[in-house]
């Protein structure tokens, strides 16, 4: 089977091939949704609405796309800006995020599906619990740190790509990412790595 590069599919869509865009949507729908969902602190309904808005917006702006830019970077830049605008227009969301952080598993997320990498049931339960604890801790991060952490650690974007998506100086991205890790270490460090100690008692002399 021939796999077309994202950029090639986008060029085909620019030339009028709607099916090329359908393929792109198929390819990025879940990943983009997961990104939006996490940036919105686990709020499913607006995340689905934003997902639709984003793919429709990209279709409308397709003629502006230049293949010099990596499609995924372009897509996530638009997605992040949409989330930012949405969060600005919903100042009371922070309250909802705090509440939702206590919910064990967000609806629609089968926390066991991707973490069940072993036949050991006890290990599976532990992996699932760790995933839920990490998701909740990510939701508790300040917005700027959560954005960087999700892009870098969860989505696997490089340092430069993350800076481009967020429109930030690479040094700022580095600092936000470091602070996010420190917050997560203080929050759930012992859960992730039971053999390590908290930052407070491991400071070098």
């Amino acid at each position: 089977m021939v796999t077309h590069a994202d950029e090639e599919l986008m060029m085909q869509f620019q030339a009028g091939n709607v099916y090329a865009y359908e393929l792109l949507c198929e390819r990025y729908r879940t990943r983009t949704f997961a990104f939006i969902y996490r940036l919105l602190g686990g709020d499913r309904e607006p995340a689905e609405d934003l997902l639709q808005d984003i793919f429709v917006k990209i279709a409308g702006a397709a003629r502006l796309y230049e293949p010099r830019a990596k499609f995924s970077t372009w897509l996530f830049t638009i997605a992040r800006n949409h989330c930012r605008n949405y969060l600005k227009s919903r100042p009371y969301l922070q309250q909802q995020v705090t509440v939702s952080a206590d919910i064990p598993a967000p609806p629609g997320v089968d926390a066991g599906v991707l973490v069940d990498t072993t036949d050991n049931p006890a290990q599976n339960v532990q992996n699932r619990e760790t995933a839920e604890i990490l998701e909740a801790a990510i939701r508790r991060l300040p917005d700027a740190e959560r954005e960087v952490f999700v892009l870098r650690a969860v989505e696997g974007f490089s340092h430069e790509e993350s800076a481009r998506i967020l429109g930030l100086n690479p040094a700022t991205v580095r600092t936000h990412y470091h602070r996010a890790r420190q917050h997560l270490k203080a929050d759930i460090g012992p859960v992730l790595d039971p053999t390590s100690s908290t930052p407070e008692n491991r400071r070098p002399a």
């Binding site: 729908r29 629609g108 991707l114 973490v115």
Partner: protein, 164 residues
Amino acid sequence: MNPCETYAELLPEFLDGALPPDLAANTATHLAECAHCRDELRFVRTLTRAARELPSPTPGDAVAIRIMQSVLGARPVPRRTEFGPVLDVEELADFLRVDPATLDRYIPDIPCFELGGKLLFRRETIEEWIRQRELGIGLQPLPEPQPIPEEHEQTVSGGVQWTL
């Protein structure tokens, strides 16, 4: 900022192999000497692995349908249904009911003329071209079969035998 904090910020890029060689070498030297930073490196690894293995929340199935309906609905130019005697490439795509990308593959085979740097097509000639490509019952052969270019032979050769 103490040196450990400076190096701690660089650890993810160190693990990605994205640091410039001299900075990577300095970081490696510091790690060899500093137990605290080695501990930090292990945490970065553990955290990154846990983050990559997080299950992806998935959108509902209806969203995919809604997206494509909106995209199709937002197409700026609807397919044309009325055509003049001369067509440009986009009009020809609509006339033949294919998308322009598909049409591109057939352009070398389609009779056309050029004017002002633009490829144009006579609608009458296109209709004739379609007739030549048609296969099936009820079609009449052309009165004077034209010599067919070599690349056409495969697709059209069966057609000249049409009889009722």
